[in-house]
Each structure stands twice: as C-alpha cells, then as structure tokens.
Symmetry: C2
Subunit: 363 residues, 2 copies
C-alpha cells in the first residue's frame, strides 16, 4: 500500500478493531472522545456532490456559574491545487486555508519565475478581497495564507492575512521560522517574518497564526500563547516521507503545553512541475516532491483531539468548541503558574551569548 | 475493558490489523521502524521466570566519514511497588528507576508520616550505595530517582541521583516543576528544585534528567538540550485517567524539537493506602488514586519511537542507539539554527514583567 493510497489512520482502526479495544485505543491515541456534530443535510449533500470530505466535532467544557459558555465554530479547509501547475497563473488563483493557499507549493523548484507572480498585497490583493466578501457574507473571520508581496521594498513574505467578520483586514502574521531543509529551502524566496507573535482579538476569540515550519518550534507556540492566543492556527504544506509521524505530535503538544486550542491544516495531493528539479539528497532529478498528506485536525488543551481529515481527499472539518475549556484546564494543570518563566528568561538570555558556558558536570 | 486490563496499544494493533495497513499505521504512529534487538537467551529466560516483560530495540544512524558510530545501550525499568504500602519501611526500600523509585507514590495522602521516612541522602543514602555497587559491577551509569533529604536544612527534594560507571556520584538533578493538581499536590512535601538544567558528561554521552511533571514544560526539555544533553530521561509516576493521552506526545515532541533522545519511564500498578483520602474533585474518599499505566518508551530525534512496554506488567526495555543521529538530524532539520533564540530571550524577559503589555490587535 503506497503512502498516497492509505486513506486514514482512524478509518483503518475503525474497520478492524473489536469495539471494546477500539475504545481503549482511541482513548490512548486521541484522549476524551470528541462528540460528532450534526451537520445540515444541505451541507452533507454538497460534500457528496462535489466530492469533498465533511466532518464535524464538538469539544465540551464544564458549565460555570459566572461565565456563560463561549461556543464558537471553526472550519478548516484542506484541498489540492485546482489546476495543473503550468496552467495560466490568473486561472490558478483560487482560495484556500493551507499555507500559501492560492498557489502550488513551488518553492522546491527554486525557480523565481513564474512563481513569484503569485505574490500579492496582504491588504489589497485579489485573495484578500475575495475573503473579505466571504467574511461579510457569512459573518466569519477568515485566516488566509498567501505569498505576500510588500511593494514598497519589493520583498516577499510567507503571510497569513486575518480578516474580521466585518470584512476589514485585522492584520497579518508573517512566518516566523523559515526552513532550509530538502525541498523546503524557502529562504530562496523570503526570510524570517517581522510581525512577532501578534494575537488578533476577534469577535469570537483571540487567535494567532503559527505558519508551517513554526510548528516545530515550541517557543513559537508558547509566545503566541503568552500574548493571549486562545486558538492557534497552523496552516502547513508538508509531505509524507518527511514529516508525517511528527504531524500528530507537534500541534497537539502545543495545545497541551499552552492550555489553548490548536488547528493543524495541511495540503492534499501531489503537485507536478514542468521543469525537473533535485532535492539535495543525492537522488535523481524529478518533477514532484511527494504526497501532501492532509490529515488536518484540531487539538484541545485537555490532550484530546478530533480525528483527522483523510490523507487523500479535499475536506472541510467543522469544530465547535467552548473556549471556556482553556481556563478550566489551566486552573487544573497550572502549567503557566508552575512555568518558572522568570528563571527561563534569565537562562535564555545567557544561552544566546556566543561565549555561553553550558552547565555540564564531569567526573 | 477496564483501563488496568488493557495490555498495550501496540499489541492490540498487531492482533487485528492486516499486514499492509499495520505497516502504514505504525509508520504514522511511530515513524521509521525501530529494529528489534537480539537479546541473550539467558536474559529472556530470566524475564520469563521472574514474570517481567523484556523488549529490545535499536535506532540506527548513517555511517559518517570522520566520526565513528557512538553506539550505546540504555535500559529503562518500570515496576510496581514490591510490598504493600503498609509493610515496614525498611522492607519496602528496594530500587527502581521511576520517580521516587524506592517508595509508594504516597503524596496523594498528604500524610507526612510515615512517608517522609523514605527520604534519604543523595550522596550517601542506601539507594545510592546500592546503585553504586551495580554501576561498578556492570560498568553502567545509573539514574536513580529518590525522595531526597538534605540533612543540613531538613528539607526534602524530589531528586534523581546520577551515578557514574566508576561508581562515583556524578551529581544530582532536582525536580524543576512541582505539580499542584489533584492527587499530585506535591508541594506539601517539597518545592521547585534549585539544580537548574545540569547536564552530566558520562563516558557514554551527555545525559540529563527531567523529572515527571517537568515533561509538560517544553522550556524544561529545551534548556537541558541547550546545555548539551544528548539523552534526557523522564522518570515519572502518572495515572491513566489523568494523563495517558498526553504520555505518547510530550517526551516525543521534546525529542523532535530538541534533536535528542528522550526516555519516558512510568510506574506500573495500583497502590492502596491504609488511610482513606480525598482528591479535591468532590468525590468520596478512597484508598488508591488510579492505575499507573507503565508504557515506558524511547523517542528519537527523527520522530521515530520504540513501542511501549505494557500498561500492566513490570518490564525492562533495552534500547541501543547511535548518538550520531542527533547531529545528523540537527543538520537536516536545523531547528536550533532557525530557532531565533535571541528574539525569544528578549520577548520572554518582557513577558515575565507584571506590567507586560501583550501584542493584541483589535479592530
């Protein structure tokens, strides 16, 4: 069975494990079971007609005496590119929520043209205008990952635009950590972001965006959380052979460690490029760099998570959550209270000096 | 099926999944397969006679031109308490490698007597002497978790003693983060450690000990790594209902994020106490606080991990690893190169001030 045929871990377990064992396996793998959400029949039909997966789950919190529940809904979209990579660029510009959602993940080619033509303004680009309409129409906040061109200095950035449900651009978050690994040598195109760890206060809650490779950096999640994020989105584009066993670990660990919700979103499909390219691994030149494995999911602060969307199909996962859960779990586990951050600030300040002496005991 | 009957996730998957699917499920769950280690027939017989689980695995690294392989072996022991909790204390003092290995995990009782009688000197206590003999005899480094009494100030600490293969005490590492949660209200007995993030240079490699609740704190793992740790041990005592879904996540995330090996070790069994106690959860008083679920494992920097020991039985897992893998993975993924730690040191220094202004954008 090849890696781009296997549909999902969850489906495999559900097909083969006896009921009592399945419950234990799911508890250990996914934590407290997330309830399934009843979705409108119209939506289910649309998914069937247009051939995308549609799943819905709900995370509950305890009822409190003073605070009413803060129930909100989040939707994560995973999708393949709509047209071949050599179709005219104007035709390719559609929308998505995965990393640089409007374009093929072409950074593996190291070609500047034509890919930099996908870059657009965060404030006034086509993708932003398109999302603004949707935001107003459906009264929703949109997180829209794009390849950004900052015209004034002609620089590119890997950026997520956050659009309020009013339709206004609330701001943008640029990718903080840039990989130099295999086909992800993205510093050919853009460098580390300068927007720090901005959190966006929306009508529904405080959100932040940790783009792709930033998920490998626990400090990145942590600092968004220290600035108050209640939900951290991680729009990603990553392939099976490289990162798949890490995928269920990192965003979920961040939800646990920071008492918040995290949303891991990945591309689907295999993207073929006209020009062949090498990958710095001694292997022959080729036209694609592997299967984007989807598997988008939401993780909660109590260690539980939703099942993932499939590894192979376009999909939408709708998750309802009571944001009161964050503070409830924080009061229970108290990682921030017991975090000793002042000591770490001092230690880290020393660590980054070039003449840092590590604390190593020898015999 | 009750939580203390279910033997292990791995066994359940292997019993029911078809071969091709099992391979994909294991790849997604555990990463690159760890080879099984051939163990001496004598050892296998001993395990069978004495009724403990014995497993062996190996993590490979690539052959390099300039550095020879750095193959070492690590053994993790998980075990239940040997005698009932109300047996005479002198009889109960045996050895182990889980958190405060010589004693029942009695902190749930909040009784000072007789439990503080288990406390002993890190440098000259019975447990240390016993481990020193073993260290010399078998040419091995021993990490020995104890309840430490510092006689001079009559204070208690939750401590791991590190004993060199020469038999000398190399030093000690005190628990950095102390829980105040449910039955783990340990600050009744001891407070946050003052040994920082010490790393021990042994003949086999540089090791560190992140005790129990410290595994929930990504900064704790991180700082041991920044001081040079190649293997970080996490001796723990934790129960199913509380933490089991987090268990496969946290130590493994730390191995990935810090380009090092991590070893997660837990107790097994259910411990009954003569006096009843409450758990701060509104429920009735009771005599035990749940099932310690074992499941000890080793995680590697490439995102792979060994299967776990069982949830129910005493066990020893022997893992051979080539420590060259750490630098190889660091060169590949480059999390430390791309970590932007100087920026985080500045940010964290601001965050811990009482008048910190979070970076929140509003409409």
């Amino acid at each position: 069975m090849s890696a781009c045929q296997f549909e999902s871990l969850e489906k495999s377990l559900e097909s083969h494990l006896p009921e009592a064992e399945l419950a234990e396996v799911k508890r250990i793998l996914f934590g407290k079971e997330t309830k399934k959400l009843d979705l409108p029949a119209r939506a289910v039909e649309a998914a069937s007609e247009r051939d995308f997966e549609l799943k819905g789950y709900r995370f509950d919190a305890a009822q409190e005496q003073l605070r009413p529940p803060r129930n909100i809904r989040v939707g994560l979209i995973q999708h393949r590119i709509v047209l071949p990579t050599d179709a005219p660029i104007l035709d390719q510009v559609t929308m998505g929520k995965k990393e640089t959602g409007t374009m093929p993940f072409a950074f593996c080619t190291r070609e500047k043209e034509p890919w930099t033509e996908f870059a657009e303004s965060a404030e006034e680009g086509n993708t932003t205008r398109f999302c603004q309409e949707l935001a107003r129409k459906y009264n929703m906040v949109v997180v829209s990952p794009i390849l950004e061109r900052e015209d004034l200095h002609s620089t590119l950035w890997n950026t997520a635009v956050v659009i309020s449900n009013s339709g206004n651009v609330l701001g943008k978050s640029r990718k903080n950590h840039i990989p130099r690994i295999g086909d992800f040598n993205e510093s050919t195109y853009y460098m580390e972001g300068n927007t720090g760890h901005t959190v966006f206060q929306t009508q529904f809650g405080k959100i932040a965006v940790n783009i792709c490779y930033g998920r490998h950096h626990p400090l990145n999640w942590f600092m968004y959380s220290m600035n108050g994020a209640e939900i951290i989105f991680n729009p990603s584009a990553t392939v099976g052979a490289l990162s798949e066993p890490m995928w269920p670990i990192e965003a979920r660990n961040a939800a646990i460690a920071n008492h918040c919700f995290t949303c891991a979103i990945n591309r689907v499909g295999t993207e073929h490029f006209k020009s062949e390219f090498t990958s710095g691994d001694g292997k022959k030149a080729h036209h694609d760099f592997g299967h984007f494995y989807g598997s988008s999911y939401v993780a909660a602060p109590d260690g539980s998570r939703t099942p993932g969307l499939s590894r192979t199909r376009d999909g939408l996962i709708v998750v309802e959550m009571d944001l009161n859960l964050n503070r409830q779990i924080s009061d229970k586990w108290s990682f921030k209270m017991t975090g000793r951050y002042a000591e770490y600030a001092e230690e880290l300040t020393k660590v980054v000096e070039h003449d840092f002496k590590p604390k190593i005991v020898k015999e």
